[in-house]
Amino acid sequence: MISSASPAFTGNDPENRLFGPLPDVTGEAGYEPDHPARVGFFTDTSVCIGCKACEVACKEWNTLPMDDADGTVDALGLSGMSYDNTGMLGANSWRHVAFVEQSRPVDLPLPSIGAPAAPGQGVGSGGGCGGSCGSGESPSHANADGVTIDQASVLNAQALSSFDPQTAQSGDREIRWLMSSDVCKHCTHAGCLDVCPTGALFRTEFGTVVVQDDICNGCGYCVPACPYGVIDQRKDDGKVFKCTMCYDRLTDGLQPACATACPTQSIQFGDLDELQARADARLATLTEQGVTTARLYGRDEDDGVGGAGAFFLLLDEPEVYGLPPDPVVTTRDLPSMWRHAAGAAAMLVGVALSGFLGRRR
């Protein structure tokens, strides 16, 4: 069998087989046009409560062994990273809930600007931000309970305009707890799938990427090839493992275990185009409410992996959650590397044989 991406090596890649948007990734992988729609996850971290139900459901359904934050099997340990003792995605953790505790100082308003809000006066002055606040959420939020009113009143406009659902105030500091359930991205251009030499990794009819563990010979090439550091090798077993998006459940018309278990619909499963529309609407809502740091990650099909099958709504920079800010599938640069390797091989042969030319010494 010869991979379908071969034509891309002739130089140009008009059909985006190695890089770029690919509207029908399943069809490109060789499925008939009547294949099922591409499915995916939309993980909305703004409503994640860090319950880890997804991690547990995944472990139970897929019978994954226990391991610690560094992937050591049958070890139990505290990582010291907030509530996160899972540590990372790996061969035995196909969902990983990240916990980021953050704080920032809150400036008290200076007396010189306008009419500053005195403590306890919050409601009357619209939360101390006068007419320039720009947040529709904060005043009504302040009405919710008396304590919040007091706290909101000493906040400045900046703090209020950046209100987001996981934030609370504590004295002169504002604290928030970011929680995000990470998972395999099931990329449009999947590095792991591209580099697998045995064909153990394959694209399913649902557009997801799955390892066939009876084929994998444990060469480990997919492990460093993933730009997100998702797939990993099980040391005792030798083979590699990652999220299958519960391929076995999908073929029976069920949702993946993690999405089924999620109590807040932070993990949403469905047809990818539908999820994308839902995510765009959610982002618009949050933006309207003044959550200026909300952004979608993996949604853009013009990104380095042609868009992800599992994408996220984040409240901070991706690297804060342990995600690469601008991942690119390594295979994008492979044609150039092959050309240079061909040049280098020709150089070797030329240099080695040229030594035989000329007069015999």
Binding site: A98, P197, G199, N217, V223, A344, A352, L353
Partner: protein
């Protein structure tokens, strides 16, 4: 009453925001210029990881000192965020010394195979025999190391289930298989030709083993795959998300083939009488020069991603490698005509090549373990793209 008042505030405000058409991300910007708010006018609203009151100070101190997790002294000032300093991409699971040795042996075998074929056709039997044995031995050992490195060695034949140009390991399997067959065959024929029973035998089998044609065919086959054999391993490393392997992906093939010439030429010099070894000497010296030049680019052209080549174990290995390679090249040029000079400089060149492979391997592993080598270049890439977009829209 208060509720209505509150709802009027956004009602006044929303149209104004809509009119200016400022995207949500930019709303922070005008606010930052207000008096009294400059203290938190940092990107992302000033949020910092909270790990207790002194966490930030601790982290900064650690970074300045060059803590193993958060950074290294040479770019201690570069700001980046991470998830508890944990690595983002996974490190390769390839074993040391299996894979670096495979890189070295594959290279030495590849260039020796080309030298062996040249020697076959130019009447240099001693050079041909040495080159065949190095190529064959290296190729067979390579296969051994590669299979041993698999998580499931008994499934090594699965490598030949499919052919995928997107997978350098798949392409490599189709280079290594014919190469090791041909190189191993040429080496076996050279060895068997020395056995007295074969040398004097009269049957068809001894005649076949002695036949120059068969040995030449095998050596040409090995030589045809020798160049690709030495070059593809560079693409094997470069086609990963490991920063210090991927970024210099266009230069690594020249490092590896240069290094292969130095190693193969050097080893042939060691085992060949000097009157036949001249082609090996020339190949080794030119190869060493190519290796040093290409490695210089790898070590200096890639900003922060070049850093792992200078520090830690990789830095030490590569410094020793450079000294060995340079000394070996000079030695081969000046003293290569003398037997002891050829042996000494040949060994130096081979050791230099070996240490280069270990150094490059180590540098990549180190770059995968520190999130800064992932975050900083990607942030720079995003900033450059943004700047280009701004310029384009401004023009």
């Amino acid at each position: 009453m208060s509720g209505r008042h509150a709802s009027e505030v956004p009602a006044d405000e929303t149209p104004e925001m809509g009119r200016t058409g400022v995207p949500a991300e930019a709303v922070d910007a005008p606010l930052d210029h207000r008096p009294g708010t400059s203290g938190i006018a940092t990107p992302g609203g000033g949020w910092r990881r909270a790990q207790g009151p002194s966490a930030q100070k601790r982290e900064k101190r650690k970074r300045r000192r060059g803590g193993a997790r958060d950074g290294d002294p040479t770019v201690g000032d570069a700001e980046f965020q991470s998830y508890y300093g944990r690595q983002i991409v996974k490190s390769a699971v390839w074993k040391t010394p299996d894979v670096p040795l495979y890189l070295f042996l594959g290279g030495a075998a590849g260039s020796s195979a080309v030298l062996g074929a040249g020697a076959e056709f130019t009447g240099r039997p001693a050079l041909a025999r040495a080159a065949h044995l190095i190529a064959g031995g290296g190729a067979i050992a390579s296969v051994g190391f590669l299979i041993h490195d698999l998580g499931r060695p008994e499934r090594f034949l699965h490598m030949l289930r499919v052919f995928k140009p997107t997978s350098p390991l798949s392409v490599g399997s189709y280079i290594l298989s014919p190469f090791s067959t041909a190189a191993g065959g040429a080496a076996a024929l050279s060895l068997l030709g020395q056995v007295p029973a074969v040398r004097r035998g009269r049957g068809w089998l001894p005649k076949l083993v002695r036949s120059t044609g068969l040995r030449r065919t095998a050596s040409v086959g090995a030589a045809a795959f020798g160049g690709p054999m030495a070059a593809y391993t560079a693409v094997l490393l470069a086609n990963t998300a490991t920063p210090s392997w991927h970024e210099p992906g266009n230069q690594l093939p020249f490092v590896f083939t240069g290094s292969a010439l130095a190693a193969g030429g050097g080893l042939c010099m060691v085992f060949t009488p000097v009157d036949q070894a001249s082609p090996a000497r020339k190949a080794a010296v030119v190869g060493a020069a190519v290796e040093l030049a290409a490695m210089h680019k790898v070590e200096h052209d890639h900003g922060v991603v070049s850093e792992p080549f200078h520090i830690g174990r990789a830095g030490t290995l590569l410094r020793i490698a450079k000294a060995c390679t340079s000394a070996g090249a000079v030695g081969a040029t000046v003293l290569g005509g003398k037997r002891w000079g050829a042996v000494g400089s040949g060994v130096l060149l081979a050791v230099g090549s070996l240490l280069t492979r270990f150094g490059v391997f180590d540098a990549g592993m180190a770059s995968s373990k520190d999130p800064k080598y992932v975050v900083i270049p990607q942030r720079a890439r995003m900033a450059a793209r943004e700047a280009a977009a701004t310029t384009a829209s401004g023009a």
